[in-house]
Structures are given as C-alpha cells and as structure tokens.
C-alpha cells in the first residue's frame, strides 16, 4: 500500500496513509441502516412525504368517521388508508373480538357491573385511544380506565399474535433467533461453545454480556471472570433487523485449596499431625494423607503409623461443584532434616538396657534419644550439671538408658549436647537439658 514513498514526519505519514483511507463497510450494513433511516424519517415532520404527523391526522380522521358510522359495528375495513393503518386496524379489531370473549368469560362468572364496563371498551375510538394519543379519544378517557383493568388480563397475548400474522402477510419472513450453548453454567474459566440455530437472517452479532462481541456464526467464548452473563444473539435479515434472543450463562468462582502441616515431622510418638486448612470458597474437602487414609474434615488431625515421606493432597469443592486441589509431594520429605530431643525421660528400674531403641520399643520413653530425619553423622554427649560426662554415643540408634557405670543415675537435670551433619551437608550443633525422672 505504501509504495508512494517516504515521509518527513509522522503527521505526513499518518495523514497520507490514513487521512483518506477507504474502509469497506460490512455487507448488510445498509439494509439494517436503511430501516433505521426510514423510521427516523418517518418521525420527522416534512411537508410532502408520509410521516408520523400525517399518520396521526389520518388516524384521527378515521377515528372520527369510525365512531360516527360504525358505533357498535365491529367490521371496519377502510380501503383507502395506507397499509400500516390496515395492519393496526385489523390487529385492533381482532383484539376487540378477543376482548368480547374475554369479557363474556368474566361476566359469566358473575358481576353485571363488569359487563357494563366491558361493553364500553368495545367501541372502536376507545381502543384507538389506548394506542395513539389523539385528542379525539380524550372525552372517553375517564370512563375508559376502569374497563382497561378488566380487559388487560387476556388481551395482550392475543394482540401480539395478531400483529405477527399481519406482518408476515405483507413482508419477508422475519429472522427467528435461536441458539444453544453447550453449557449454561460452570466453573471459572468457562469455555462455552455457542451454536446458532436461527433462520431467515443475513448476519448476526453475538454479545456475550461481559463486553465481548463476535460476528462468527458459531463462536466459542471464554468467560474469564465470575458472574452471570446475558448472552445476546442479534440478527439482521431482509425481513427484519435487531431480532434478538437471550440466554444466561453463569460462571462460578473456583475455590482455592490451601493447607499447611502443623509440623514437618510425620512421626512423633503419640502425636497427631494437624492439617491447617486455608482454602477459600469451599464447602467440601477431600483429604488424601498419602498413607492410604483419607478424610473429609475441614481441619483433620492424622496419625501416621510410620515415619516416611508422604504425599498429602487436598481437594476443595465449592457449593457449585467447582474444585481446586493442592498436592504436597513428600510432605515430610527427604529434604526436611531435623533433630529434636525430649525434655524428660524415665529410665527403667531393671538395669542397663544398652540404650538401643526403636520407635516402637520405646513407647515408655525409657531411653533418652532424639527424633530425627536426614541425619548422616551424629555425636551425643550428656553431662551432669557439674560437667561430668555420663554418656556418649555416635550411633543414632543408641540413646541413653539412664545408667552410668552400671548404676542408675540420680534423678535430676542433665545437660545434653549433640553435633553432627544432615544429609544435605549442613552441620548442626544443639544443646539443652533433660530431666531424668524417677519411676514411681
């Protein structure tokens, strides 16, 4: 396009390329525009052309003559008025017929009062009075009001059908808007495929209610924020424009699944692991603790039989069935290294045991030993408060049984010191005190 050359400045560039640019107008634009134009021309007063003012005058004249000539007679068929009038006329005449039936039903039920009022509404000028605000109808206005209340129940529906019939006779078939969506509700982000099942149209516009539009025939739309959206399909055709139909699509928010574990240790004797639930927008929870057990409490506590690394997952579901999940792989995993000591123990009275322990054998806490994970080398020393070394071990499986040189140590407070290296290479040095309790 721009082989005309080069430009010295940005103004020249844009002016010459865009200033007189032709941009093709969508096909079908004129057809729909023309209808609007005709309508607007119709609303404007111009001498010499048919418009709403002339129509008003004709209607007024028709009213006057109709009321003079045909009081009580329902078969009005003026031949000389333009077709719009005919349309209105037949519509209202048929409507009146239905009014009669309606009224008769009403009166059958009882009140003669109502019959009197209903009959009044049959005179044509009062019917017109409802549709066009003409001075001719003014005088009957007051009597008219109570009648309307009776008529209103059944007549509106009939009117719509009548008018449609009349229009179909004089014009091309109007577009019929219909579409289906593969889902009407769902979880965020919601992808919906729409299928256009309309007839008698040339072009269509989809308005998705979230500000988005599409001119495609069968669009696929992603709703990316929660809410209820009115999806409009608007049709343009030779037989009519702006025909539309609406469907609602509801997008539910997705919950957020989040949890934390009370501690990084899966196995401390007699201690449950607590799971703290920070999920949002959820009403139902499914826990999988990774050891074959599941749960559905909001914040469950779980007891692991064995130490190990478990994969814990939480699925959170909202009240609309939208789900989110969080998985904690190796929840107490290999990468967590720690060493902890109890602050008291009760040696057995039966003599030295050698200090060898296992998680299962030491349920009585007869041996002072650490709870740990990921420890590769280790040295534990225990001193009296005066600084005398009473126990030393380089084997993590051997703790202090509470005996010193074959004799049970005095109950009281002892100092422990541990040093070693975790398997990730990180050295550790810790110290503390432990109370040796006498057995009762």
């Amino acid at each position: 396009m721009s082989d005309k050359g080069t430009y010295n400045n940005i103004e020249d560039l844009f002016r010459s390329e865009l200033g007189n640019r032709d941009y093709p107008v969508r096909e079908g634009f004129w057809a729909s525009f023309e209808k609007k134009l005709r309508f607007r021309e119709f609303l404007r007063f111009r001498p010499g052309s048919f418009n709403v003012y002339y129509l008003g005058a004709i209607v007024a004249a028709a009213l006057v003559s109709a009321s003079l000539l045909l009081s009580g007679n329902k078969d009005i068929k003026p031949a000389s008025v333009p077709d719009i009038i005919i349309e209105k006329d037949t519509a209202s005449v048929q409507q009146e017929k239905s009014v009669v039936e309606e009224d008769k039903q009403v009166t059958d039920k009882g009140s003669t009062d109502k019959k009197a009022v209903g009959e009044k509404t049959l005179t044509p000028e009062k019917k017109y009075d409802g549709q066009d605000t003409e001075p001719a109808g003014g005088k009957t206005g007051e009597e008219h009001k109570p009648g309307k209340a009776v008529v209103a129940k059944g007549s509106t529906r009939v009117e719509v059908i009548d008018k449609k019939d009349t229009i179909e006779k004089i014009a091309l078939p109007p577009p019929v808007a219909r579409f289906t969506a593969d889902k009407s509700e769902g979880c965020l982000p919601l992808t919906v495929s729409f299928e256009n099942l309309s007839h008698n149209y040339d072009s269509c516009i989809w308005e998705f209610g979230d500000g988005g539009r599409s001119y495609e025939e069968n669009p696929v739309w992603v709703f990316d924020s929660e809410g209820s959206y009115e999806v409009n399909l608007i049709l343009f055709g030779k037989g009519g424009s702006g025909v539309k139909t609406v469907e609602t699509v509801t997008v539910y928010p997705r919950p957020v699944a989040r949890f934390e574990i009370s501690q990084d240790n899966p196995y401390i004797p007699d201690e449950e692991i607590r799971f703290y639930n920070y999920s949002q927008n959820a009403v139902e929870w499914e826990w999988d603790f990774g050891d074959g057990n599941t749960g559905s409490d909001f914040e469950p506590a779980h007891f692991y039989e064995k130490p190990g690394s478990y994969t814990v997952s939480l699925k959170a579901m909202s009240k609309h069935g939208c789900a989110d999940s969080m998985v904690l792989t190796n929840a107490f995993g290999n990468n967590t290294c720690y060493i902890k000591f109890p602050n008291a123990f009760v040696p057995n009275d039966g003599g030295p045991t050698g200090g060898y322990y296992s998680s299962r054998s030491d349920q009585q806490e007869e041996v002072f030993h650490p709870v740990c994970s990921g420890v590769t080398s280790y040295n534990l020393r225990i001193y009296t408060r005066r600084g005398i070394l009473v126990f030393e071990s380089d084997d993590i499986q051997i703790g202090w049984d509470g005996y010193y040189k074959g004799q049970k140590a005095e109950p009281g407070v002892y100092i422990w010191k541990v040093r070693g290296v975790y398997k990730n290479g990180e050295p550790f040095v810790k110290g503390g005190d432990v109370t040796l309790l006498p057995r009762h």
């Binding site: 400045n9 940005i10 103004e11 844009f14 640019r21």
Partner: protein, 177 residues
C-alpha cells in the same frame, strides 16, 4: 453513474435511490474516519450509523457552499467526538505513563514504509483520548485551540497529549521494523 450534484439533490428530496448512491460512493471513506477514532470495529459501525443518520436527515442544512465531502467528514468527526465523550465514562481511562515525551528528531521515517493497516494498528494502541487528539491534529489538521474547544479540554492538555501520543507512536513505529 450519477454526479455528486444529482445525488445531493436526490438526497435533499429523500429519494431512496439517491440515498443508496450516496452510501455506496462515500461510506468507505466515512468508515475510514470512523475506524480511526473508534476503539473497535463495532464502535466504528455505531459511529458511522449515527453519522449517516445525521447526514441524511440534515442534508437540507448543507448550504451548498464548501465541499460536500468536507461537510460529511465534519459530521463524522463531530459524531466520533460525541461518541468518545459518551463512552468515556464507561471505560477505564488509560494514561500513557512514563514515556519519554521528548521530541525525537523528524526524518527518521525516510527509509521506512508502513501500510495503512500497520499504521492503524499502531494508532489503535493509543489510549482513546490521545487517539482523538492525534487524529484531530495530525490527520485532520485542526489547531490545538480548536481541538481544545471541540473536546472541552485545556489547550495545554491538547498539546501535551498530542506530544505524548506522537512520541508513543514514534517509539512503536521504530520498534515495528
């Protein structure tokens, strides 16, 4: 093919054929203007429709002096400005932000060629307010004083928005190729 004068006369009498001729002859040019001001295609169509209604319904007001095309263009531009004002409050107002507002030297386009589509694309990246000011000043050739009156803004706002729009476009175009 009818002459412009015949079409104009026909439109004055609201003849359908003349109206259609006018549409066929000029809608592309007018749509070109709409597209430049609108933020998207449906909006451009809205502006075109409003403008055409004004043109057809008020064609009697065209005095016959001055260019008829100029008269129509002016109606489209005014409609676009009205539309911009009307939609302004529904939209997030975007500032260009911390751009270097200094004037880059003119002449850097000597070796560059852009298609109208490319320019339009770059123009569409401007925030709506800047886009209107740039269109009015650079493309339509209005003075800042006139733009300030049309948009009901301060003359300095018009100048600064224009200058920022310009450097924004320059930067975009420099990066384009």
């Amino acid at each position: 093919m009818k002459s412009d004068r015949e079409i104009l006369e026909g439109c004055r009498r609201h003849e359908r054929m003349a109206q259609k001729f006018l549409f066929e002859r000029y809608s592309g040019m007018l749509m070109g203007i709409c597209v430049r001001y609108a933020t998207d295609y449906p909006e451009a169509e809205d502006i075109l429709q409003e403008s055409l209604l004004k043109i057809y319904l008020n064609i009697g007001d065209y005095s016959g002096e001055g260019s008829f095309i100029g008269w129509m263009r002016k109606i489209v531009i005014n409609t676009a400005i009205t539309y911009y004002h009307k939609t302004l409050k529904h939209k997030h107002y975007v500032e260009i932000g911390d751009l270097h507002t200094g004037e880059a030297g003119d002449g850097s386009f000597r070796d560059l060629r852009f298609t109208a589509d490319e320019l339009q694309k770059v123009l569409d990246e401007l925030p709506p307010g800047y886009k209107v000011v740039f269109n009015l000043y650079a493309v339509e050739g209005y003075k800042h004083k006139e733009i300030a009156e049309m948009l009901d803004i301060d003359i300095n706002t018009s100048k600064s928005q224009y200058s920022r729009a310009k450097s924004f476009l320059r930067k975009k175009l420099d990066n384009y190729k």
